[in-house]
């Protein structure tokens, strides 16, 4: 089972984050457009007023000359309003107007400019914003016509300072909302994941809890539960079938064997020489029956193990110890065949598994390895922890299996041409593969270096257990 995702990895959080970024961007764009448009309109209005003023003043100058212009500027300057005037000579000596000093602007006539100016309010000088245009009067004088736009300026300032904060606030609130949503989703998925984990571990009776809200998670959970009901029913059916197949085949096989034994006993009791031959035949028939029973038992065990219908007990076990027992069992046989059988030393590797099944799988591998390794060869067993799990390997120095044949030898009843005459059911490796399957492990057949076959049982990392809680045999004895 995969590990629980962190909050930042959840789909909900990611979706909300993307949405919030998009939302913040849209809000900023919208606000910016409004601001830009408003300002443009306001400026246009101001500019219109200024242009009208300028037209008026130019008319005045044309009709009445400089004195007329000065008069008009003076009279207009006394009005309390937004309009600002300043008439200076070339050396910026004040001539007329309600501005006292020439502002810090380019004196070139032409475009609209914005500038700050001082205006006394309640005895204090207040800096305000204005917008206006400069025009030159007959080369010797400069006239500045402007409008006080301080209110617009303040609004604009407020706008530009609050906009970034608004975006920041949207992001913070969005992230918080995403986290909340993600956590909630995670909690619901966690319940489903936990149940799946327990079911994978073999407890088919578990069901995903429902919240009763009828939301999409409940619908999903309900569907999963219905699926689990079905799987459980199928598994139970399969179990019943294997049980009845076992029972219905074993009962007649039992009678057959009984009768053969009985006949053999009767014949040998009579003791006549001519019966010897018949007794021998019967004994061979018994041996054949036993072979048949052996094959049947192996097939049944493979079927049960492969389907995971057996409720074989799982426990934490030290692979090295299981291997040591198998080595101990096969050591005299290996010695008789002049094959060096050894367990490679290493730190203890503890996994969750079924001792009997793993021992049987390992025994099959060792049995094969000894059978196919010529005199003077070696068979080495090793249990190691690797980056992606645990490997239990049996490496021999025999002829190996051609790469093309490897997937086939794991299939039931497949025996290679080279070994067709040696004893065996052709089910040994199938059982190993079934045991591997039962433990969520893999059976790999690889080349051994420098020669031979290396059969590897690769258990996933999730099977790994800490050696801390397990009493090692060397410590117990």
């Amino acid at each position: 089972m995969r590990t629980k995702p962190s909050l930042l990895q959840t789909q909900a959080f990611r979706i909300v984050l993307v949405y919030v970024l998009l939302f913040a961007f849209s809000v900023s764009a919208l606000l910016f457009f409004t601001y830009w448009n408003t300002r443009r309109t306001l400026d246009a209005q101001t500019d219109q007023i200024i242009e009208a003023e300028i037209t008026g003043l130019t008319e005045e100058y044309r009709h009445f000359g400089l004195p007329g212009l000065v008069e008009t500027v003076r009279s207009r300057s006394t009005h309390q309003g937004q309009a600002l005037y300043l008439l200076d000579d070339v050396l910026h000596h004040y001539v007329a107007g309600n501005l006292e000093f020439w502002p810090q602007i380019s004196t070139e006539p032409g475009d609209m400019v914005e500038f700050d100016f001082g205006r006394p309010v309640n005895g204090k000088l207040e800096s305000r914003r204005a917008r206006g245009r400069v025009l030159t009067i007959s080369g010797d004088f400069q006239l500045l016509v402007a409008e006080d736009v301080h209110d617009r300026y303040l609004t604009e300032r407020m706008f530009t300072t609050t906009l970034p904060w608004t975006v920041v606030l949207i992001l913070i609130l969005g992230a918080a909302g995403g986290a909340l949503l993600g956590r909630n989703m995670l909690r619901r998925l966690d319940a489903i994941n936990r149940t799946s984990g327990e079911i994978i571990a073999g407890d088919l009776s578990r069901r995903v809890p429902l919240t009763g809200s009828g939301d999409e998670f409940d619908v999903l959970s309900e569907n999963l539960n219905r699926m689990l009901d079905r799987i459980e029913r199928l598994m139970k059916g399969l179990r019943e079938v294997t049980d009845s197949v076992a029972h219905d085949l074993r009962t007649p096989l039992n009678r057959l064997r009984n009768r053969l034994e009985e006949s053999a006993a009767r014949l040998s009791a009579q003791g006549a020489l001519k019966n010897e031959l018949a007794a021998g035949e019967i004994e061979r028939a018994i041996a054949e029956t036993d072979q048949l029973i052996g094959t049947f038992n192996a097939l049944l065990l493979i079927a049960e193990t492969d389907a995971g219908t057996t409720r074989a007990a799982m426990s934490a076990l030290v692979l090295g110890e299981v291997a040591a027992d198998v080595v101990e069992l096969y050591e005299p046989l290996a010695e008789e065949r002049k094959v060096g059988l050894s367990l490679m030393p290493g730190p203890p590797v503890v996994i969750e598994g079924n001792r009997s099944l793993i021992a049987q799988a390992l025994a099959n591998l060792v049995d094969n390895a000894i059978k196919y390794t010529p005199m003077g060869g070696t068979v080495r067993i090793r249990a190691v922890t690797t980056s992606d799990g645990v490997e239990l390997s049996v490496a021999d120095s025999g002829p190996g299996i051609p790469e093309a044949d490897r997937p086939r030898v794991i299939e039931r009843f497949v025996r290679l041409e080279a070994s067709r005459n040696s004893p065996g059911t052709g089910l040994g490796l199938s059982l190993v593969a079934a045991v591997a399957h039962f433990h969520n492990a893999e059976l790999l057949l690889e080349d051994n270096v420098p020669a031979g076959l290396k059969a590897v049982l690769r258990f996933p990392r999730t099977a790994l257990r800490s050696p801390a809680g397990v009493q090692l045999r060397s410590a117990a004895e």
Binding site: L253, N254, R255, E304, R311, L329, L333, T425
Partner: protein, 224 residues
């Protein structure tokens, strides 16, 4: 010895009863769980052979009921069910041994002999003797005619099991189950190799061999 056979397959029952009688046992039989349970509770038996699946009352229930009535008769389960976890169920219900059908009669006979032997009050034994072969269970030392014999731990356990069942046939499966605690048959008969190794240690150089091969059945250790 008195033996109770509860088996619903009448053909198998007839064979079993006949074989046991020929081996010198007194046998009662029942074809269903209820009759069998009544017999088991009303008469004393040395061993009961109970089929796992019985009509009226299931084999597991029969043995569970026997144990509930404080009946300690050793029970050997016979089962035609698939094996993997059924053995555990049988032993949990109070069975003492478990044999899968089809079985060899010698295997069954050897197992009920072992069950009956287990029942006898043996006390705490610290020494086993067979002829001039001695096994000290405390010092874990083996001697034959006063000569020390070096044994590996597993060889010691193998010899101990054989000597505890001296004079009885011990099958290869029984040795695998008791000495190695494996409930599967290895493809190659590795037990034979272990036995011949042990035989080389205890019988080599002595006139009378103690460890005998019983053809078609297993092994036996005895003095004569």
């Amino acid at each position: 010895m008195r033996i109770l056979v509860i088996e619903d397959d009448l053909e198998a029952q007839r064979y079993l009863v006949q074989g046991l009688k020929e081996s010198g046992h007194v046998v009662d039989e029942a074809a269903d769980g209820e009759t069998g349970l009544n017999l088991a509770l009303s008469r004393p038996y040395d061993v009961a052979i109970v089929d796992r699946m019985l009509p009226v009352l299931d084999g597991l229930r029969v043995v569970a009921e026997m144990r509930e009535h404080s009946n300690a008769t050793p029970v050997l389960f016979l089962s035609a069910l698939s094996e993997v976890d059924d053995r555990v169920k049988g032993l949990k219900a109070g069975g003492d041994d478990y044999l899968t059908k089809p079985y060899a009669f010698v295997e069954l006979l050897a197992r009920i002999d072992a069950l009956m032997r287990r029942r006898m009050p043996a006390g705490v034994r610290t020494r086993l003797d067979v002829g001039d072969l001695e096994l000290d269970l405390l010092t874990r030392a083996a001697k034959r005619s006063g000569t020390d014999i070096e044994l590996q731990p597993r060889e010691f356990r193998l010899l101990e099991y054989l000597m505890r069942h001296a004079g009885q046939v011990v099958t290869r499966t029984m040795l695998l189950e008791s000495v190695w605690e494996y409930h599967f048959d290895p493809q190659t008969n590795v037990i034979d190799v272990h036995i011949s190794r042990l035989r080389a240690k205890i019988d080599k150089g002595f006139e009378a061999p103690l460890l005998h091969t019983v053809r078609g059945a297993g092994y036996m250790i005895r003095a004569h």
